[in-house]
Symmetry: C2
Subunit: 188 residues, 2 copies
């Protein structure tokens, strides 16, 4: 199983790192061997909005081979959705793959035509832009369309990640992973 998290410059830290940590627990806590999580981008490194530069583990073109693809968020999504060459590199098949977004990452899903005529959620500051793609923008933390899902508000990354794990493995693994990060005295 391959999971790609799409990052870019000025990415929102938590929108990459919360899914990244939780998804890797399928391997570390759940003991699943066939499970490869990569952060992918257009450059060898990308720098977050908080100023942390991290290495990419592959180019965005690798999303074509992924079982699940999650788009991060950040102010640069507004620029990226105008970049036709960038968008063309995402060979996605939403019948075979699971494709999700955090916060303003939904704009990229919108630009790729994955949300036209459908419900989706995004960060409040990106609502109007998302609606321009013919999307019914709702005030919810998570919208599940089957093979496509949108989450909004950084901590909703937990719901988006659970959705990926549930679809690729099952609910038991979701519970194992989430239990391992709960505050002590509650989950443990």
């Amino acid at each position: 199983m391959k999971i790609a998290i799409v990052a870019f410059d000025q990415f929102t830290d938590l929108d990459v790192f919360l899914p990244w940590d939780l998804l890797n627990r399928v391997r570390l806590v759940g003991g699943v061997r066939d499970w490869d999580v990569k952060i992918v981008g257009t450059e060898p490194t990308h720098v977050s909005i908080s100023g942390l530069r991290i290495p990419m583990m592959g180019p965005i073109d690798e999303v074509a081979e992924a079982d699940a693809v999650l788009f991060a968020s950040g102010p640069s999504t507004r620029r990226l959705v105008q970049d036709v060459e960038y968008l063309k590199r995402f060979w996605l098949d939403s019948e075979r793959q699971y494709v999700g977004s955090m916060c303003s990452g939904a704009l990229i899903l919108g630009a790729l035509g994955l949300l036209s005529g459908k419900k989706a959620t995004t960060y409040p500051t990106a609502r109007e832009r998302l609606a321009e793609y013919g999307v019914e923008v709702v005030n919810e933390s998570f919208v599940d369309l089957g093979h496509v899902a949108t989450a909004a508000g950084c901590l909703a990354g937990e719901e988006l990640t659970a959705w990926v794990i549930r679809n690729l493995i099952g609910q038991e693994m979701v519970e194992k992973v989430l239990e391992s990060v709960q505050p002590v005295g509650r989950g443990l």
Copy 2:
């Protein structure tokens, strides 16, 4: 204001990145200019337990000048607490500074003598080791001793970070920061 997050090889991703993201929001969302968050270590880069290599922003010796210092967690804390040369580099003054830990990071606080005869929390797998430092280990997500605090279970990083911001700035800023990461429809 200077805040240092202490990382090392095999650090638990979320225990560094949740405080890192939230603390930087004091600057990004709260508009505070005099606010510098650094991830510090003993090498130019450290690699997380999930395999992400990140650059350090300074050496651990910088904790001496920080207003708040947070220790991350990971399996290597068991080795680090045996390393006298490592421990000697932490010049900490828990009357002036705020010193906190995530999960097994409490072992370093224990080894530094900051928890002797006091209550603290840690990840369940580190409880026995922590008790060896004369600590009363409790099954709680967060223990606040005034200038020293311990949190356990990755998502308790929210409580630890709130404690730092509350003490260095105030409760209003805590609410502003936490609101900005809540799932849409709840916090926003």
